[in-house]
Amino acid sequence: MIVRSPDELSLASPLGRVRAVTKLGLALAWLVGLALVVDPRPPIVVALSAALAGVAFGAIRPAALFRGVAPLSLAAVGVGVFNALFSAANGDPLQPVALSVGPVRLTEVALVGGLALGLRILAIATVGVVFALTTDSTALVDGLVQQLRVPERFGYGALAAYQAVPRLAANLATLRQARRIRGLRGSWHPRILVGLLVLAIRHGDRLALAMDARGFGSARRTRYREVRWGPIDALALVVGLVVIVAALATAD
């Protein structure tokens, strides 16, 4: 399994140096902004801004960005078509018709609405990929714990569990192979899910044991890495808010 982790170049870039929490906050602000209006223009502005920022200030290779967004384009098309097909506007006889095939009657409003929602998914995906390719998961947890006061044990407990991803992916593959080599068909049998969860929980248990044995959960804890706000966060925040306001301003 490919763990999409940012490369060192991106982490050292200006966007990489913006605190993870700032980026996360902005990403959520953009998301909420996009949810406010159904119009094809704001998502286009957001997607282009995110892509531009990622490539110009985040040292992301365009190919990597494309590879990240591509899997969601199918979902984007699907959601767009679904909305267009089942739009309430299609039943409104006063709406101008753009396309009609047999009993299916697609109005202009429905088509534009479908397009807007498909693009919304692409915009969200682009923001997500840029965030993931410029943000270190350790830095995110450090930020959540130190800047947003997320309880420390939960933050680092989750981070420890994330380290198991490659292992669990390999376990999943092994379980499917184990069924096959014993002559059993159905490589997605529910037993496999049970097996995977048993392995995951046992691994989690051992990991927790190792963490306890290393003194995790003691009353006072110091921090090797300190996260503080910097001027670059203020800059990113201002630019980010300007972008979403500008994007929304393009809507009808």
Partner: protein, 469 residues
Amino acid sequence: MPALRDVSFTLDRGECLLVLGPSGSGKSTLALAIAGLVPRELHGEWFGRLMLDGRATTETPAPDLAAIVGLVFQDPASQLVMERVEDDVAFGLENRAWPRPEMRLRIPVAIAEVGLRGLERRRSTTLSGGEQQRLALGGVLAPRPRVLVLDEPTANLDPAGAEAFVERLAAIRDARAATIVLVEHRVELAWGLADKVLALGRDGRPIDAGPPGDVLARSGRRMATEGIWLPETPEGAPASPAVVRSQRPLVEAADVSFGYVPGRLAVEDVDLTVAAGERLALVGPNGSGKSTLGLLLVGLLRPDAGRVRLGGADPSRLAAADLARRAGYVFQDPEAQFLAMRVRDEVELGLRPSERAAVPALMDALRLPLGEFGERSPYTLSGGEQRRLSLACVLVRRPDLLVLDEPTFGQDRLGYDGLLDILSERVEEGTAVVAATHDRRLVHDLGGRTVALDRGRVVSGTGHGAAAA
């Protein structure tokens, strides 16, 4: 039945205790007890007293105990907490509230002590098994524990990695920097470290304890009959002479390459032929592609380039039932292949009723009698028991080809001999056996061809035996 009983020993500051015992004798249980995790975290009945630095483990709060004892487990990956090497070493110091300037001084030293300098910013999931285990040691050593408990720390490592690890331990012992309790099956490496030896018997009772020489002289024979590996166990002649009975190639791999991720091949341009009745040992460092090649041979992975033929067919395209008749595979991680909730169901999984008759005898031969183990969960067995169960699941069938990934992992002498007997029986019947292993003794005793891999390529031994025309 108690996992451990009537165990008593004392250990002075800076001494090293080597704990030996057959599989299931309670070694891991003892290791966890010293760290206070038995009985606090793992429940059960507890008799007696275990004093550490003058304090009873059952009465000392967990964080206080953690400040005294450092624990290293067998599986390196299950003890790495943070994403990057440096942060992982810092983890234990942060928990003990070390001031930042002191951490800055200590962390590079701890990293250097375990030989990982230069890898500070690496993600620990990208390290090799040997490096991961040294990182685990570094993380545990950083806060300078007074007691260091290690449970089979080299079990997953290649010989070079294991030696490098033991070297680090020797340096710690020689500096008397910590009192060490070491559980190991690989005595040949660990014996030199020991100031004292504690030998446990099958029933979890101690056989003997004391200085290594004395214990060996007094109880060597008893230890051997219990199945404990002893340092000077001579390597006898190979179990049976390396004769290939057949010229008929059973498996053929031609120019096979495979990569898990684009741009990095795990197996590259491998040519390999195995004849019916042949024995083949696959060796090579951690990550050299042994397991991957094994999976390719039985068609559980499909090559990116080249082709594999098993009895003339492409094994990756066979129906599952057909494949299971032709090939058996024992995966490296014993517990990752279990699919049932009881030992009995696990061995019988996918068997035809006619094949079930063979189960009880085989389980007895592997010392997992169904009467005792049949109703237990495969997951709560000890490491060595799990390995034997996973072997049983494959040996109960009679496929033409057996591929075994680290079959002797964690086995005591009796488990080892039992397995070898079964294997030579199968070879007699014409089964081909391919074993991927770090165990030099197995390579020797198997008595067949050896093929060495490095970074996915065959580097020594030829891919073709007598079957090559």
